[in-house]
């Protein structure tokens, strides 16, 4: 279980997170919904151990992230966490294969080529990110994140830079995978339609959580509006 209690985070004196509390069960698919600038990315970076909260507590399966030192936080990210970002953040001077290996090596995972094939890029192993389309680059990111065998996957606007068709494909792939492998998944988006795919929806507004609700059914990526 991932639990945040009264998390506060400021940048240069302005509070971006104003006391956020939430609970995410293991294996749950949660969407965090909010307008641009509402603090979603900041929340995600605090929950995933990329950054520390100024006050409040973040706990993962009973371990407090706030009390970990930098080394332990690194170890936590290495062991538990996968990331997918809107801007991909691939290593531009390295091939698709090496980019995915970056995740795979951390987990000692040898079947990274199968993972690349499973995201449909088996014939692009030796391509550089700049030779791929946006959707393909995002699929490399998915492969990189999955190659780590994460227990909890964080996604920050994973379809934000994609067109509708590609966006749906990517979402469909990720959500099917999540149902199969049952890892915890926390996705940030400003597209309220995507929220229909999740089990739990958390709405944010100017650094606060304003609403949390559960969907009775999980829609698939082709059944939601865009």
């Amino acid at each position: 279980m991932l639990k945040a209690e009264n998390v506060v985070k400021s940048y240069n004196g302005s509070e971006v997170l104003k006391g956020v509390s939430l609970e995410v069960q293991n294996g749950e698919f949660v969407v965090i919904l909010g307008a641009s600038g509402s603090g979603k990315s900041t929340l995600l970076s605090v929950l995933s151990g990329l950054e520390r909260a100024d006050s409040g507590n973040v706990e993962y399966n009973g371990e407090s992230l706030s009390q970990m030192n930098d080394k332990q936080l690194t170890e936590f990210r290495k062991r538990e966490v996968g990331f997918i970002f809107q801007q991909y953040y691939l290593l531009s001077h390295m091939t698709v294969e090496s980019n995915v290996r970056m995740g795979a090596d951390l987990a000692g995972n040898k079947n990274f080529r199968e993972i690349i094939s499973s995201v449909g890029l088996g014939d692009k192993l030796k391509s550089k990110p700049s030779q791929l389309s946006g959707g393909e680059q995002q699929r490399v990111c998915i492969a990189r994140a999955l190659a780590k065998n994460p227990n909890i996957l964080f996604l920050d606007e994973p379809t934000g830079a994609l067109d509708e068709k590609t966006g749906r494909e990517v979402l469909d792939y990720i959500s099917r995978l999540q149902s199969e492998r049952k890892f915890t998944m926390i996705m940030v988006t400003h597209n309220s339609n995507i929220a229909d795919m999740a089990q739990t929806v958390i709405k944010m507004n100017s650094g606060n959580i304003v609403e949390t609700y559960k969907n009775t059914e999980r829609k698939n990526a082709y059944a939601i509006g865009w």
């Binding site: 900041t42 801007q87 290593l91 970056m102």
Partner: protein, 379 residues
């Protein structure tokens, strides 16, 4: 004005190299000219030999230092301009899109020649200030004193000409580097992505692959790393050996020049590597790679070049001193035998290792302060 004076300050590396080159060349060449006052005044056979040897030394020193450092300065200048253009490709693209010609943009790179001028002018001034000391150190016992004279041709050759030539090089190279398609510049790329056919695939771990790829994408840095270690290795040992062979002052001077050159080049190389890989490192950090692994992935590929530079430097100083002692000063009685200075080697080598680990530690500290989120926001 597209390029500000502030940008040219980043070229301290070039300035320092020019300073060292002109500094040494100034007093050596001026000694070379002034020592000829003695021509015909020396009657003693031994003194005449010493006089010839000194003239030759001054010439060799000036040519070797001047030549080597001029090449380094040119390479460094290219390197900086390339990095500058790569880093500002988008801006240049926009400026070009607005209708500025390549030529007009390239001309603004004159300011990079300015850093050369500063270095040369300072080196010239300080070189003259040091000249009496050098003349004293080299004075032949019993011979008339040599006066330090000002030579306008040295000012022209060591300050004005280099500044002019380097400015031309800067503008010319910028012009050449900017000649890529506008859209490519706007997308932030200056060089075409080379589609090298892959060699028989070696199975490398990610970290090793990252080492190789970082090295391959910044090959010129390998040259500077090697050069820094070359300077460190050669000048440090030469300085330490000089103490026995010639004057202490000369020894210290060489030692200091070596350390300054090494420190500046190394600092420049490391900062370039850090700044050029900020994003890559932050992604690795986010994934869960440790600080040491991050540092290794970026710096590791350069270690062989550092060692190579150091070894060449050791061989070079040994060879140079051998030539000096056994050929140039062969017939002069009071110069002692020169053999490889083993203590100097071990002292230098120990310091080399210490510096290597300090640089690594510095780098790890720097990586520690990189905020993953901040780097990712910059898009």
């Amino acid at each position: 004005m597209i390029i500000s004076l502030k940008d040219s300050i980043k070229l301290v590396g070039v300035t320092v190299v020019c300073f060292c080159a002109v500094f040494v060349c100034t007093f050596m060449l001026s000694f070379y000219i002034d020592v000829q006052q003695l021509n015909g005044l020396l009657t003693d056979q031994n003194m005449r030999l010493l006089y010839q040897a000194q003239k030759a030394t001054a010439q060799v020193c000036a040519i070797v230092t001047g030549g080597v450092l001029a090449v380094i300065a040119v390479v460094m200048l290219f390197f900086y301009i390339k990095i500058y253009i790569d880093g500002h490709a988008k801006q240049f693209g926009i400026i070009k899109a607005l209708g500025y010609s390549n030529c007009k943009i390239a001309l603004t790179f004159w300011i990079f020649g300015f850093s050369v001028f500063i270095g040369c002018a300072l080196g010239f001034g300080v070189g003259y200030a040091f000249a009496p000391l050098v003349y004293n150190g080299l004075a032949i016992e019993g011979a008339p004193e040599i006066a330090v004279n000002f030579h306008i041709e040295l000012l022209l050759g060591l300050v004005v000409a280099p500044a002019f030539v380097f400015t031309l090089i800067a503008c010319g190279y910028a012009y050449w580097a900017l000649r890529c398609p506008l859209m490519q510049l706007m997308r932030g790329k200056t060089a075409k992505i080379k589609d090298k056919s892959y060699k028989a695939n070696k199975e490398r771990s990610f970290l090793k692959e990252m080492c190789f790829k970082t090295l391959a994408s910044k090959k010129s840095v390998a040259f500077f790393v090697a050069f820094a270690c070359f300077c460190f290795g050669s000048m440090m040992q030469m300085g330490l050996s000089m103490e026995n062979l010639a004057s202490k002052t000369m020894g210290y001077m060489i030692l200091i020049i070596g350390l300054v050159l090494a420190a500046v080049t190394l600092f420049m190389s490391v900062t370039t590597l850090i700044n050029g890989n900020l994003k890559n490192i932050s992604i690795m950090k986010a994934c869960g790679y440790s600080l040491k692994q991050c540092a290794f992935s970026v710096l590791g590929g350069y270690v062989p070049f550092a060692v190579l530079g150091f070894m060449i430097g050791t061989a070079y100083q040994f060879g140079l001193l051998q030539i000096m002692v056994n050929i140039v000063f062969k017939e002069v009685a009071e110069v002692p035998e020169y053999t490889f200075n083993i203590p100097a080697f071990f002292i230098t080598f120990a310091l080399f290792i210490v510096s290597y680990f300090s640089v690594m530690a510095f780098y790890v500290l720097r990586i520690k302060t990189i905020s993953v989120k901040e780097v990712m926001l910059e898009n």
